[in-house]
């Protein structure tokens, strides 16, 4: 079996389903705008404190949007009983996992296309290539972990409760390194290169670990 062909087929199928139903992206985009609006009215924002507050709001919105996006990846398959049909094929579970993670990452990136300009609009912070790079790098690792835990909790009833409990502690490294990178890109003191390097290291580490674990999670 060609794992790349399988992963691309799974990702294409998930993205096509989302395009037809528009179940997730509009709701997440709306959630992101509301989170930014609440942040904007909840804090006294001015030109001086915006770069220190905006990154916090950005990561909060991203974390909660990610939890919803990744949680749906396997829950929908379970609800329509299609996961078993997919796993009953000779396709590698790791390739299936990679396809699901790729689709979930792309859906979150679409939400980020709304989030980042809206952040600039509400908080007046610069939208630079450095900010975009930090957010995209964090998204990759967070998606790998989020989709793996979504696959684990999809089998249990209290999955909406369990997913954040399992995922959030492991997302902390991405939030710390990503937060530092975004803050320094917005002009606050900090080493941008070091934070980006850390994000890359975490991405590689968690991509390898989740690929190894996916086989056992999806195999039975």
């Amino acid at each position: 079996m060609n794992p790349l062909r399988v992963a691309l087929a799974v990702a294409r199928k998930d993205l096509r389903s989302e395009w037809r139903t528009r179940e997730m992206v509009p709701a997440l985009a709306q959630f992101i705008i509301l989170a930014l609006l609440i942040g904007n009215f909840g804090f006294q924002i001015d030109a001086r404190n915006a770069p220190s507050i905006a990154p916090g709001i950005l990561w909060l919105a991203l974390v909660f949007a990610g939890l919803v996006a990744f949680g749906r990846t396997f829950a929908a398959e379970r609800e329509q009983a299609s996961l078993e049909a997919m796993l009953m094929t000779p396709a590698s579970p790791v390739a299936i996992f990679a396809g699901k993670a790729l689709a979930a990452t792309l859906l979150l990136v679409v939400c980020e296309v709304v989030l980042l300009p809206a952040l600039t609009l509400f908080f007046g912070t610069p939208l630079s290539v450095e900010v975009v790079a930090a957010v995209l790098l964090a998204t990759v690792g967070m998606a790998a972990l989020g989709v793996l835990f979504a696959a684990i909790v999809a089998r249990v009833r209290a999955r909406e409760l369990l997913l954040p409990l399992l995922t959030l502690p492991l997302w902390i490294p991405f939030i710390i390194a990503g937060g530092q990178a975004v803050q320094s890109a917005m002009g606050l003191p900090g080493n941008y290169q070091e934070a980006i390097g850390l994000l890359l290291d975490f991405d590689i580490l968690f991509l390898v670990l989740t690929s190894l674990a996916a086989r056992f999670v999806l195999d039975e």
Partner: protein, 214 residues
Amino acid sequence: MSLLVGNGLTHWFGRELALDGVDLVLDTGEHMAVLGDNGAGKTTLLRILATALRPTAGQLQIAGLDAFREKRRLRHHLGYVAHAPGLYPALSAVENLEFFCDLQEESRTRVGEVLDVVGLTPVAHRRADQLSRGMQQRLAIGRAILHEPRLLVLDEPDASLGEAAADLLTRVMEGKTVILATHDHALANRLCPRTLELRHGRSLGTATRLRVVR
């Protein structure tokens, strides 16, 4: 020659014994029906035979391979229709089958042939959630035969098919080794020369259909 050999297949769900030491042999090309009331263990047995569920105890060999150690290899030769159709509602009938062609490494040209066999060509481009329950079941059967498996495991495939069930299943089962679970004794007799009766997870033995010759 035996394609499937199961010995002492037993399964517990927690403290509930669902299947109690069932032995089963199925020859190549043979069709066997599994009969029994609700809760008799039909679905558990079929899920085990389809390698979707690992039994608590017992051995299963399919085509000479250990069904659980080499299940990924075996799945090239195995088609399974479960209780629920398990389709992607937002995708059309064609797209559902094309997706499974990609997963099976099967040429997409098979899709047209399969849609013909299950009688869904006129609704090929209709979304799965806009198909009737019977059409969805036909599509699930089509998905199971996409890769031309040697062994077909069918769990109540006649559900929602109505009067067309026997003709459709006859076409689908032709040339394959088949084990199917059903409540419909008449259908079982028509399609399968041999039946296995289950009660409370135990096998009551197999029976062979008698033909009356004038």
